[in-house]
Symmetry: C2
Subunit: 594 residues, 2 copies
């Protein structure tokens, strides 16, 4: 029906006839002539209808915004002074010779160039919202990203293999979406939180290298930027250790950025242990674009006459750390109060500070409510270690290490953004040497930091002795600009080791049997060494497109209450359907019993 996309008509087509299809982005009448910006996936082109051509002009008079047109016309140079250098088509226009209105349109619920349309309206009329050039670009880039990833993986011998969606509850620990079975009344499928067990089974099946771009599901209370269904690039390989896997994945990500964004990434990606990341940045996904670091003070605070500091410094689980804010001396009392409130959300009970007015003036040059508690030697250490300069401010965190890390880590990121300290560019980072287990303080038991199939950095099951908190796993996370974009590990591949880990986790044999019996069986029949990784595709695309939310890189996302304003899903269903499934609704709270 057309010869070219609108958005690519340029001077190479001068004096040629083209046939275009697209939407009326805007119609302007000027000097008796009708100008139409015709829009398609590739961009805009200006079409001109001249009153001299009576028939086509008369038709053109009918057209309105968002009408769908087919236009035959001749490409000509725009008159001097009307060239638009921002458009690929900006040097030309198309003189309309023939016009067919393929469809009319009512006035859309919002204008495509409106900025402040509410998200609910955008989602309800998603087919209008997606016509915006920005949304088109994002979805196009998403398709280019997945195509590039697939090509890389296929060139490296990875097979695209599909795993089931109707499956058994998975061990990820979040809440499952359930699907009642009609043929087995009283039983339920679960939608997968990830294909973790299936990809391991594929390795046991000898398929050697697997990948899949796959939908995953978590029925969680939606935080700011989560979705009930999301997409994972899921990868697993046999006969490769963590060095091999990280190397190959790094190559993949580097190729992705080179091909899609034409950006070279650092080669090789830097690596950091979990311990170092927590120590320097209070986070296992540090944003390296922010040139601020935590300063360790636990060792010097034990003896100060200030319980707020000395208490945590003497607690084996405590930590005291400082964060220097360059130029932070200019922060107002109100701003400092706001930051105090901010760290409070992470459990910090306060936010002590010292303003550094004049280093040469000694104590007189410092300004702080807590200065009086700190002896000179300690003050010197603080200034020394933090590298403070005149005009800076130093914040302090002192509490359980977990609270200090979470609050000061978050404060570091917030200050980086608030004070314009975030460097441009891409800062990938591998974080390695994660602990195997962390203590669930409420339940008083050890839980797997990744998942219970992650291999420990130990040769034999009997090496897993001593404090479980000190065991290091063979897991790795890929962090990009402060966002975890991928995470994986070498997996346990022997029965003896898997049983030992279950034991440390307090998972009883019967429970392990019931939940993962098929995996334990499979370990008995010749399981190869294997490992893998999964990337959060939505988040990766969001970073690469510069979108602010993963909802902006999905065609039809859900709202934060897990609903779809477009289709009105979820929706009530017929009683007969429920009956077939062997279920019925509970009466709403307060309603009468049925």
């Amino acid at each position: 029906m057309r010869t070219h996309y609108c958005g690519i008509v340029d001077e190479s087509l001068l004096d040629q006839e083209v046939t275009l299809c697209g939407w009326v982005n805007r119609r302007r009448d000027h000097g008796g002539v009708i100008f139409v910006d015709l829009r398609d996936r590739e961009g805009l082109v200006q079409v001109v209808f001249d009153p001299d051509r009576v028939e086509v002009f008369t038709r053109a008079e009918r057209i309105r915004s968002e009408y769908v047109l087919r236009v035959r016309g001749r490409v000509r140079r725009r008159p001097e002074g009307t060239v638009n250098p921002d458009l690929r088509t900006g040097a030309i226009e198309v003189l309309g010779l023939e016009l067919e209105v393929l469809n009319t349109a009512e006035t859309p619920p919002f204008q495509l160039d409106e900025d402040d349309v509410g998200e609910d309206t955008r989602l309800r009329y998603r087919y209008v919202d997606l016509r915006r050039p920005m949304m088109q670009t994002r979805l196009q880039m998403r398709a280019r990203i997945t195509a590039t990833l697939r090509r890389f993986l296929e060139a490296n011998g990875f097979l695209d293999i599909e795993t089931p969606m109707l499956t058994k509850a998975t061990p990820e620990g979040a809440r499952d979406y359930l699907v009642p079975s009609r043929t087995h009344p009283g039983s339920f499928f679960a939608l997968p939180q990830s294909p973790q067990l299936f990809k391991q089974l594929l390795m046991m099946s000898g398929l050697d290298r697997y990948y899949q771009i796959v939908r995953c599901f978590r029925d969680e209370d939606l935080r700011a930027d989560r979705q009930p269904e999301f997409t994972q690039l899921d990868i697993e390989t046999s006969f490769m250790d963590e060095e091999g896997i990280m190397g190959l994945m790094e190559q993949m990500v580097r190729e992705l950025f080179a091909q899609v964004l034409e950006v070279p990434l650092h080669d090789p990606f830097p690596r950091m242990t979990y311990a170092e990341a927590m120590h320097r940045f209070g986070s296992d996904k540090p944003d390296l674009r922010i040139p601020l670091e935590l300063v360790e003070l636990t060792d010097v605070m034990g003896e100060v006459d200030f319980k707020v500091f000395s208490g945590p410094a003497k607690d084996p689980h405590g930590r005291v750390a400082a964060l220097r804010v360059p130029g932070g001396g200019a922060l107002t009392r109100k701003e400092i109060e706001d930051y105090t409130g901010f760290v409070g959300r992470y459990g910090a009970k306060g936010l002590a500070y010292i303003k550094v007015n004049d280093l040469n003036a000694g104590r007189e040059g410092l300004q702080s409510p807590i200065l009086k508690f700190l002896p000179d030697t300690v003050v010197v250490e603080i200034l020394d270690r933090s590298g403070a300069e005149d005009g800076d401010l130093i914040f302090f965190g002192a509490d359980k290490a977990r609270v200090v890390n979470e609050s000061m880590g978050a404060l570091r990121v917030k200050l980086g953004h608030d004070r314009g300290l975030v460097e441009r560019g891409w800062r990938p980072l591998w974080v390695v040497d994660f602990p195997m287990f962390e203590l669930d303080e409420k339940e008083g038991r050890w839980v797997a930091l990744h998942h219970p199939f992650t291999a420990p950095r130990a040769e034999r099951p009997e090496d897993l002795s001593g404090d479980p908190g000190h065991l290091v796993s063979r897991a790795y996370d890929l962090v990009l600009n402060g966002t975890e974009v991928g995470g994986g590990s070498v997996r346990i591949h022997t029965m003896a080791m898997q049983q030992q880990v279950f034991e440390l986790l307090g998972i009883k044999e019967a429970e392990a049997r019931e939940k993962f019996g098929f995996l334990l069986d499979a370990l008995k029949y010749g399981c190869p060494p294997h490992g893998g990784i999964a990337f959060g595709l939505d988040r990766l695309v969001m970073l690469m497109t510069g979108a602010q939310s993963i909802r902006d890189v999905m065609a039809f996302p859900k709202t934060q209450t897990a609903a779809c304003p477009l289709t009105q899903a979820p929706a009530p269903v017929e009683q007969a359907q429920l009956k077939e499934l062997g279920i019925r609704l509970r009466p709403a709270p307060g309603a009468q019993k049925d």
Copy 2:
């Protein structure tokens, strides 16, 4: 961990050292030497452990079937007389220099080369079953097929766009899988039967060309070869008519067969109207490899003195047709009885026949219980039209046209296979000009043959008058060797036409609003002309790999009761989970009320 896959080590590597990883396919001891067939995804290679190398030999003595090994060895020519020309590695062997047992294995539940393992056992130990070379080849070919399709579509400007899995009940009409919503108690998501409405919305969004390889779900009673979840290659494009779409899809399928099977397909694919297909083959998906056709006799049977034929011949909905079986004169009474039983399953009340012994002998040369009812003129027509020869047999079907088509169409296919008449090769066929509607005889109302968004072959809504049974749609099916592998249509793109079609289908405005309100809204705001197609990927892969069941081209299929013997899904869940979802189980029939 390795330098090469086992299955690709050949003479080009003579005298070189290789490191291989794989499974022990078989161990044989012969003349004091240990021979191991080591297996990986790419095939087998023979590894030899010599008693002269004491340490590695001693280790090799421990190994058993399905142990996972890592072997360093030197490639050498096999001794004369032991070359295996069937294997790529058959001219060489690897002398084992170093051996590491990466994992042991218990004796697997069945041998990989066992032929008659029950399907339940195969599915329960799928990770053993998938190690069979045949299953490996099929999954590898499946990956190659999807990669080839993706490349073609992306080269043609189609964007891979993901549509939701948690969505609203779709209009396909089969039973939906439901997912209870926790955040909206009493409401349910449906898993998609196809992304039909979303892909149309993407066209209304101006994304122009869409594709997706996507999981779809139908909670149906599983016939021989259906699965509750299956995979569709889903395609939609704007500004293209049926000629354009069929042409492009044909090119895609031709390229697929050329690249994956190295088979050239007929160019162009033949086309046939629905009416012709039913007339000649009694089926809208005729297998053109079978050189048998129905012979029309309705017009000559009206006046015969045999109600079984004259009744249907005079019924406007009736049909009388014959099927010549070359050499069928040799069929025994028992065989004919079996075929009579076979057509009975399709509703046929009998299966009349004539054996043609000697054409030159006139009536004397024919043998049939019904001959006496047929006048000479009719007998001459039967012999003439069917082209019968000595030794043939002619079967007759006479009933409602639907019954004749279904029973004789099925008989044609069965006879083709039973009598070895199926020609080799690939016979693609486009079937076009489908009726818009068919009469639901039970409900006495018209239903859409494809779906209610299929465009009629009519310019304006007011052209849809007269008998709805005579309206032809702009739908097309791609048939390959008697299997429907793809189906699609140009869609309705104006509100007026869509409303007219809903009206003919007896869908009330309120019902249309409730079910497809968002689609009707979208039609108002500038919907482009568009159309598309969907291919059943599992079935296509099954045909291309020569597998007998779609379960053999899926990694983890379900049984015919929609269960997974491997993971034991579906399974009961905790009461607390159901409570969160606002549902509870109905008491089993016969159980006490709760």
